[in-house]
Symmetry: C2
Amino acid sequence: MTDQADPGKGSSNVTRPFQASSEDRVYARLRSAIVKRYIGPGKQLVEESLARQLGVSRTPVRAAIRRLVYDGFVEVVPHRGAFVIRPTRREIEDAFAVRIGLERMAARLAAGCVSPEDLACLDELIEEEAVTFGYRNVEAYYRVNDAFHLKLAEASGNRTLRKFVADVLARVNIYLILFDPFMRLEVNPSPEQHRDIVNALRRRDPAGAEEAVRRHLENTLAGLELDKVAEQYPDDYLAV
Amino acid sequence: MTDQADPGKGSSNVTRPFQASSEDRVYARLRSAIVKRYIGPGKQLVEESLARQLGVSRTPVRAAIRRLVYDGFVEVVPHRGAFVIRPTRREIEDAFAVRIGLERMAARLAAGCVSPEDLACLDELIEEEAVTFGYRNVEAYYRVNDAFHLKLAEASGNRTLRKFVADVLARVNIYLILFDPFMRLEVNPSPEQHRDIVNALRRRDPAGAEEAVRRHLENTLAGLELDKVAEQYPDDYLAV
DNA sequence: TACACAGAAATTGTATACACTACTACCAGG
DNA sequence: CCTGGTAGTAGTGTATACAATTTCTGTGTA
């Protein structure tokens, strides 16, 4: 079909600045708005309205929405519109099961090839995590927490695995933010469990790392207030 | 942000015709062209040129390309263009590792909740598979083979898992088609191995099903002519 | 009142024009 | 010959206008 040459993967070694495009900015803002529940579950994303509010045209808004669909935050009905998902309890548990499976695999692999730099980076992230939790800075906390799990996936050395972990993490995050009550807790068990994982990696213990991940994530899942899922959608009372 | 109501998930029970949009048609054609190697690895997808050839505007072409990016068939460089991926041997093996992990999980879960209808459907797909292989109908064969693995994932009852299996399957498929020499074989070991999987499910044997999947997929991976990966990109000789 | 139907309104889907960026080829100066 | 700069060009990024589809609303009829 087309006949052009290839991009020459490494033709340029410099890391160019690549200022964020409108689409990227719109995507980031929409995603953040959904995660913070400014746009609640079930609400419609109207392209023109969002374009006006964000001061851009429909084109980048539309593209950003498609990315959100891909991430699993939004569902589209052709010729009808895009709507923020309303996850069911079952969907949350299912997504978590996939996450656990993928992260266990990552931990097992990482135990075999983790570098001292990786370990240092993971240690550092655990420290940051404790600090941000101390300040009750929700957004920063989730960012650091994500970074830890992504670093773990990266340490597996399997790029595809890292991408899939990133995907399922994004998907699970919205559930976490909707239903995770942990910010109300006095102490956060997460850093301790993260340390267990890193220690197993340091011992080069695949089974131990895998098990530590399993424990940690099942703990996280158990901590969600899933019995509150139904209450989260007041509109449902009208819908019946 | 927006204030509209929800889509009322099941407000309309009728399944509407939903004729395929331009974007869908372009997506299907591009994907098929890549899979059939009409557009080889490394080649650029130029929006305007494709739009002319397909008789549509750039808009649906652009959207279709983004979907291909999401599927992992294509990579984009901002302000430069979209290029068909050139998988390395490592990437192929990595993707396969993820696939094995996810499908093992699916088999394990499916053993616990598979229905007689599911089993019948799987049996049927194995039959079809043998037939299409007999006719050496490559395209039909891959379609049926995919259907089998997707049905297996579906039988797990975990929707998220099904989606992730579909994703990794799409990603692995392009590798299979580029490097799988099996159509030259006299006999195809796949149906037999598929039968092993289904039999384990019928016995409600999670460990057995998982193991059968592992054997089957590791077999498939081993069958790829991965030592030919390098030769697949003649342009590389120029690029050095 | 219930129902069918036509027209209007809202929103997405597509086409097209323009803006911006990155790369290329060429030319002058060392 | 090599280096650096400078139009020119190819191709993406964005804005806007128009077409198509769906849903809503009101009106007429049984």
